[in-house]
Symmetry: C2
Subunit: 313 residues, 2 copies
């Protein structure tokens, strides 16, 4: 097969050995694979994948059709349309996916949308609900809201009955965020739009410092992205006075079982909303796998709404 | 003051001593007070109120304006518009309300709507969320969905991102239930519309027997109403196979603190949705307090959508 391969910080489309599915794996003929911030970090050498995953093959999510199933696979069969979380290697013609990390693709979802769904929606759902305890009526702040995880989080929070402030630097993205049901804000406007019961921090320390000052009593902050800086000058007295909770996590390096549990929660809680059109995957642009270098440059340039996706066609 | 008084199973509007507010109470000039099933049971002698509440003065909820506050009251002051849960005596010109059982009335809500809000929405919210663990994406069944608690529950479940089947005997109510975002069903259609993650049972045993056969794995059933019968022939094997939870409760006889906690949850989770129009109080008809007998007969006749309310004007 061919795969997107990292070499000296550049991407190319090259022959690689076919992945060999284990007894619990699906061999998937990949139709599309989203690009995530972690792929760019991996390209730069900053985000080595977990053991067992090739360091030079990026890609944390894919959609496609099951071609072969391992001996122990029970939930899916050849010909099924699936989308899946992966620890790497998703941007390739074939991918070996653990059965428990795959979801069926709703009829309403195209292969390109499905390839951009798992990482953003699993990350956003886990952060807002499992970690942040988001409930109906909560006031939620999503920073860096125009990105893939951001637009997923905004839609999920709105769908769950929250009041959502979506922060994005560029006002060009504000109309689209309002269209998702959020109140858009620039980073400078975040504090005045508070207080917030839940903050999903996707930008980093400078943004977080402001958000913490705008927390409601018992507020919960979940930090998922620190691209703009990871060192925070934190006033513990401020957290104590607002009785706040501050959490931080990534999805990729969790255990197989934990990620499987996240995938199951998304399948149960989010796919019904996708099926009836209440939540959708926003794709800014799609590129052929052979154009991965250009696609990553587009990702690095920012100023997009939702996801960039690589496709097999 | 005058109050609605029960005498020999009939209602009249008579002079009674003014209630005397304690240190934590508000004396409220009542504008409106909803009628609930429990009032009719109390009229029939089947539902004696908790100790300290006059047995012949019905009414579990009211809206009005605070006239006097007790020494220890801190959260509200004279002139504030409030709505409150009560253990009885709400259908009167004046009511003594515990501060912790009162909520501010959103600007968007009329006095009549506010008088019909607390009991139905507190009951529905507590049952669906605190007891039933309702979450986004769940498939929910509300039986007896056209009544006051039913239409509250349907709206709350829809607002929280659930897929809702609303069961009502009369097809005359089905278009209105569909308008609230639910799939309407007759009791005969309930089983085919399943399975259900959460069932809010407002009718009683015959209805519940069907619902239990249509539970999803890990399904939760919360029984709030048993007007159609309270003896259930339950197949424990059925519950075991679906790993189901069955709960039953009433709101009225819980502790002061527990009810205060319910009221706080509704204030936090539901009032923001009322304020922006996502959830509303459905009032079928309003009657003057002096017409209480006619209003209760109208309640007993059924075939209504939402609440009946008594008003001071």
């Amino acid at each position: 097969m061919n795969a997107v391969v990292i070499s000296d910080g550049r991407l190319s489309w090259q022959p690689r050995p076919d992945p060999v599915p284990g007894p619990h794996d699906l061999l998937v003929r990949v139709q599309a694979a989203g690009i995530n911030g972690a792929d760019l970090m991996q390209r730069a050498g900053h985000y080595p994948p977990p053991a067992g995953t090739p360091a030079d093959q990026p890609g944390l999510e894919c959609s496609g059709v099951v071609e072969v199933v391992g001996d122990r696979v029970r939930s899916l069969r050849p010909g099924d349309r699936v989308m899946a979380l992966m620890a790497g290697g998703a941007q390739a013609e074939l991918a070996a996916v653990h059965e428990s990390h795959a979801m069926p693709v709703p009829d309403a979802m195209s292969p390109v949308e499905a390839g951009a769904f798992p990482e953003a929606f699993c990350t956003a759902h886990d952060a807002l609900f499992t970690q942040g305890g988001l409930a109906m009526g909560d006031r939620v702040l999503v920073t860096g809201a125009a990105g893939g995880v951001g637009v997923a989080a905004v839609q999920l929070a709105v769908a769950a009955g929250a009041t959502v402030v979506a922060s994005a630097r560029s006002r060009d993205r504000h109309a689209a965020l309002a269209g998702l049901g959020a109140t858009p804000a620039t980073p400078d406007e975040v504090r005045a739009r508070g207080p917030y019961d839940v903050v999903l921090e996707l930008v980093g320390a400078p943004s977080l410092a402001t958000a913490i000052e705008a927390l409601a009593p018992w507020g919960r902050v979940v930090v998922i992205g620190t691209g703009a800086g990871s060192r925070l000058d934190l006033d513990l007295g401020l957290l104590m006075r607002s009785r706040a909770t501050l959490r931080a996590s990534t999805l990729r390096n969790r255990s197989l079982e934990d990620k499987a549990a996240v995938v199951r929660r998304v399948e149960h809680h989010v796919l019904p909303l996708v099926a009836r059109g209440a939540v959708r995957v926003l794709v800014e642009d799609a590129f052929a796998f052979s154009q991965a270098q250009a696609a990553y440059e587009r990702f690095a340039a920012g100023a997009k709404l939702g996801k960039l996706v690589l496709t097999a066609v």
